[in-house]
Symmetry: C2
Subunit: 157 residues, 2 copies
């Protein structure tokens, strides 16, 4: 009996997480030239994984490069879509980054700020593993859903 | 009897409007080299006045230049400060502009979006007169205050 377990397990991380599935869709939506067309989902997300050692080598002195900015936007858009699917409410996203890598990411619906996060050292944006990326995304989705539940009036407003 | 009515009247526009007074402070706060130090308030605000003819001459094809972006930020920050002073609640501002001059300006406090405005043709940001600038600023402050009143829970959240 031959087993091809290893690749199957890696793919299933994305398969098992609604958040990662949305994130893959967000990244693929930006792939205007079809570079990722034949790539596996986990490869599409590989740039979201940044090890501690790699992070320490990324300078936080300069601008946040366009690719990193787009990754941050995809991350919060994926969260917004997950919340949208659960609540049926249209969610908007803004990210506002200064040249020093500081700023805000906001998700809102109606008059409600569903999620607000300050960003720091955005040049180093990334998570140690796909599993941790999924966990963080899902945690933020959860906290957003709680806010929609807690402030229904503002969410409608 | 000599009269110096004309300059007096022009200055009084700023004197009479709390919003314009805050806007002047916002602009002066950015004046790191003291260029505006001896300027009258109305002169400090003169770049916020853009006539219809001038607007039509500004191209909306390219990026929004840094000075215009900063003016837009000052405008919404002045609104935020006015709301802050009335309600005692700390207000945050983000502006998110695409390269095409489209985007969002948001003012929020706690979990409440106090003000959300879509921006279009941001390259042409400006008002026909200081009077109209004051009127628009005050209108937005009013609408923000109404929202804080309407959703006190979210504003606290």
């Amino acid at each position: 009996m031959t087993t091809t377990t290893t690749p199957e397990i890696s793919t299933s991380i994305v398969e098992e997480s609604n958040f990662l599935k949305e994130l893959v869709l967000q990244v693929r939506a930006q792939d205007h030239y079809g570079v990722y067309r034949n790539w596996k989902d986990e490869l599409v997300l590989s740039n979201f994984v940044v090890s501690k050692e790699k992070k320490s080598k990324i300078s936080v002195d300069g601008d946040v490069d366009a690719a990193t900015q787009l990754r941050i936007l995809c991350f919060y858009r994926a969260i917004a879509v997950c919340i949208e699917k659960e609540t049926g409410k249209l969610c908007q996203v803004v990210t506002d980054l200064s040249h020093e890598g500081f700023g805000w990411a906001l998700v809102w619906t109606g008059r409600l700020v569903v999620l607000s996060r300050t960003l720091r050292d955005a040049q180093r944006f990334g998570y140690p593993s796909l599993k941790k990326l999924a966990a963080q995304g899902e945690r933020l989705v959860e906290s957003g859903l709680k806010n929609v539940e807690k402030y229904p009036d503002a969410a409608e407003g």
